[in-house]
């Protein structure tokens, strides 16, 4: 039973984290190759506060605020640079975060932070909280898609210049996407820290940023259910494939390449095509 609880908690945190990137990349079309930096900011904030004796539930909003502060900075950068330049800038932010954390002794340097205190909710309570937060963000994402904000995001993702001509305040909405997306990433970071009770700089590196991007892409960029399903499956895939542990990363990267090469719209796109074809056959 304990194993299933750990599994479900891991899944829920991954779903929350992947959907937070989906908000920025999927909804608003702003590519990010450094999203793990926000997970890390949240995790370090949560861990430091928890070790200082702050109650667990208060660390969540603090982690969100710290990550969103960094998110605003990257959002401002996204107003200066676009497309490929933005991809590389966000990648740079990821490396900068790692480089900073590694050299700071008060953040544990290379060794990271161990002995993060328990949440006080119990394993089942903590799992329920993670699932509730993930479900809430699924609902919120679905809701936003149907609001004015969702339509504006779609138009910016489609063509920023046309949106500007239409009189949309592109800068404001981009910043909004970054703030919401990174704040949620911060929350998932604090959850992550309390789940594993140990964090180190290596958990928030480039591979982590790419893994979460893989979840978004495999699920289908912008598709809430697709991304949630892909995150749930991909996050526990390594646990199920203990046997092929040595080939884990190879399988992961081959999946990423194969998906881009043969089905760039992700699982959601594949399903959509399948349904459309079936409809076309039965008149």
């Amino acid at each position: 039973m304990a194993y299933e609880i750990t599994l479900l908690t891991t899944m829920a945190i991954s779903v929350l984290f992947a959907l937070s990137l989906n908000f920025i990349t999927g909804f608003c079309g702003q590519i990010s190759l450094g999203h793990a930096a926000f997970l890390g900011t949240g995790a370090y904030t949560g861990a430091m506060l928890a070790k200082a004796g702050v109650p667990f539930l208060l660390t969540l909003p603090a982690a969100a605020a710290m990550a969103a502060t960094l998110g605003v900075l990257v959002g401002l950068a996204s107003l200066r640079v676009r497309h490929d330049f933005l991809a590389i800038t966000t990648m740079g932010v990821g490396f900068l975060f790692l480089g900073l954390v590694r050299q700071q002794d008060f953040l544990g340097g290379e060794l990271g932070i161990a002995g993060i205190p328990a949440t006080g909710l119990g394993k089942i309570g903590f799992m329920a909280l993670c699932i509730a937060l993930a479900a809430a963000f699924v609902a919120f994402s679905l809701y936003v898609r149907r609001t004015w904000m969702g339509y504006v995001f779609e138009s910016i993702a489609d063509n920023e210049d046309v949106s500007r001509v239409l009189g949309i305040d592109v800068a404001r909405y981009k910043l909004a996407a970054f703030i919401i997306g990174t704040a949620v990433a911060g929350v998932s970071g604090a959850l992550y820290a309390h789940h594993f009770r140990f964090i180190g700089p290596d958990s928030f590196g480039f591979v982590e940023s790419i893994s979460v991007l893989a979840m978004v892409i495999v699920g289908g960029i912008g598709s809430v259910w697709g991304v949630a399903a892909a995150a749930a499956v991909l996050s526990v895939l390594p646990l199920w494939f203990q046997v092929i542990d040595d080939y884990k990363l190879l399988l992961y990267s081959a999946l990423l390449f194969g998906m881009m090469r043969f089905a760039p719209d992700g699982v959601a796109g594949l399903l959509r095509n399948l349904l459309r074809r079936r409809k076309a056959v039965t008149p």
């Binding site: 200066r80 590389i88 740079g92 990423l256 760039p264």
Partner: protein, 288 residues
């Protein structure tokens, strides 16, 4: 004195960066793809350099073999991975490329083991006195000389030969070049061959300087080379050379003076972000 030493170290590192980043710029200029898997070809070059040198005892022969084989591998990579993705949004090719790159690291690890390979008898490890009290390793001198030779060769090719002119025409306007009878497909293959061969040369040089090749030797250069071509203004060859040298020198100084705050890789990206915020089009890029 220390300044001069750091500066020369920076130039050595910068010439290696230049060799890697040039191939990336060539690919970007022609196809608008951020070719992360370029670093896989760099690693392949390093491995071939060590293996062939150990088998034949000749470093020069190994450099040639590595450049030719990796050049052909680059052409294959284009055919297999990028050609079918050209009419997709650019991030698709970028992510496919990242997937390929991680896969290649894993393949190197599974085939050659996680601890890497070394030269049986490492060539060019001696050093000579460049000026009073400052010594340069033979390998480091080779890095500078080989870069200058290869880059001059590239400059000659692109300005003085028919092929080079067709190539530059394709970069500046593919449709117009095609209308004038340039075989675009041939240009793309040539582009990948040359870019990949340069990366292979860099791989052999890095293997020589560290006397080690390992599966992950490409990861830092791959991201740093991206930073360099973005700094240089994406697709600008002169910009890339300038950015590579600047980054080499800034890292050499930064590691000494900022080392307690940031590690070496973070310094490169701090510099990148700073430049991009001031000049979003890169050092020598044209404003769009």
């Amino acid at each position: 004195m220390l300044y001069l030493e750091l500066f020369i170290q920076g130039i050595v590192q910068g010439s290696i960066y230049a060799l890697i980043a040039l191939g990336l710029t060539l690919v970007y200029g022609l196809l608008r793809i951020l070719h992360v898997a370029h670093a896989a070809l760099f690693t392949l070059g390093g491995y071939l350099g060590v293996i062939v040198t150990n088998a034949t005892g000749s470093l020069a022969f190994a450099v040639v073999v590595a450049m030719v084989v990796v050049g052909l591998a680059g052409m294959g990579l284009y055919k297999l991975a990028y050609e079918p993705l050209l009419d997709r949004p650019p991030y698709i090719a970028l992510i496919a490329s990242i997937g390929l790159f991680i896969a290649s690291e894993e393949i190197f690890r599974l085939i050659f083991g996680p601890y890497g390979l070394s030269y049986a008898e490492a060539p060019l490890q001696g050093q000579f006195e460049l000026f009073a009290g400052f010594f340069l390793k033979h390998g480091e001198a080779l890095a500078i000389v080989l870069s200058v030779v290869l880059l001059s060769g590239l400059a000659w090719l692109s300005t003085r030969t028919r092929t080079g002119i067709a190539w530059r025409a394709t970069v500046s306007d593919p449709e117009m070049a095609e209308a004038f009878g340039v075989d675009i497909q041939k240009v793309r293959y040539l582009n990948f061959f040359i870019g990949s061969a340069l990366a292979a040369a860099a791989g052999v040089l890095v293997a020589l300087l560290n006397n080690l090749v390992e599966p992950t030797m490409g990861s830092v250069p791959s991201y740093k080379a991206l930073a360099i071509i973005v700094l240089g203004g994406l697709g600008s060859i002169r910009g890339t050379l300038l950015a590579a040298m600047a980054l080499g020198v800034i890292e050499a100084f930064g590691t000494i003076y900022l080392g307690h705050l940031l590690d070496r890789d973070a310094i490169a990206f701090a510099f990148l972000i700073l430049v991009l915020m001031l000049r979003p089009q890169g050092l020598l890029g044209k404003a769009s």
